[in-house]
Amino acid sequence: MKRSWNPFVWGGFAVTLLAILSYFFFFLRFPVTRDVPWATFVLFVVATGLLWTGVSRAFLQPERYRGKISGLVLTAVSGLLIALFCYMTFALGKDLPASAGAPGAGQQAPDFTLSDTGGKPVTLSEILKSNRAAVLIFYRGYW
């Protein structure tokens, strides 16, 4: 009997890739799927299920299904990618300085002048003359 293709191992690997790519190109844009990447983790669970099914089939019914080697290799690569994603999410993203010197509530905000995208100088104290308050958003840059 001809052994059939084992789509579960390839499907599982494809879903792993989809999970990671969809996070960076889509889910990252929405706080609800970025702050806690639950959608990505749901896809990881689906991927793990598919890989498990595929590898089990390959080893338990080797006369019917192929995929012993490809299943193990794709499972290992998927596991590595998932581990890398978890490392970025849970360790790298939280590696921030304490910033003990930042002005707290009740303290004076240092005044400054910086140029805007049109090259025009913008001064905090000038902004505050014509506004009730200002929200300063500092971000990392290099998008």
Binding site: K94, P103, A109, F112, L114, V135, L136, I137, R140
Partner: protein
């Protein structure tokens, strides 16, 4: 109420970002991270090529230049959400006169 974004990115970079995202509030460039340092939120060598950048942070500053609220996230992915900042403003600085 004014909203101001500050980053080490060049004006050119921020212009691209504003164009692609449709932001209309001012984006200020602090390439040497001088203002970022003055605000105590430098993240040394965290950018490409070991460049110093800002850690993500949001400050609410009132008309007299006093910080009323600070958000120093402990996770780069988790930032202050606009609706939360609006709630903070309503709580800390309720409008007595029509907002300008």
């Amino acid at each position: 109420m004014a909203v101001v974004a500050i980053t080490v990115d060049t004006n050119e970079e921020s212009r691209k970002l504003c164009a692609s995202e449709g932001y209309t509030f001012p984006f200020l460039s602090d390439p040497k991270a001088e203002v970022i340092s003055r605000y105590g939120i430098l993240h040394p060598r965290a950018g490409p090529d070991d460049h110093d950048i800002a850690r993500p942070a949001e400050f609410l500053v009132d008309a007299s230049g006093i910080v009323r609220w600070v958000n120093l996230t402990n996770d780069v992915r988790v930032r202050a959400r606009p609706e939360n900042v609006l709630k903070v403003i309503d709580t800390l600085m309720p409008a007595t006169a029509p907002a300008r």
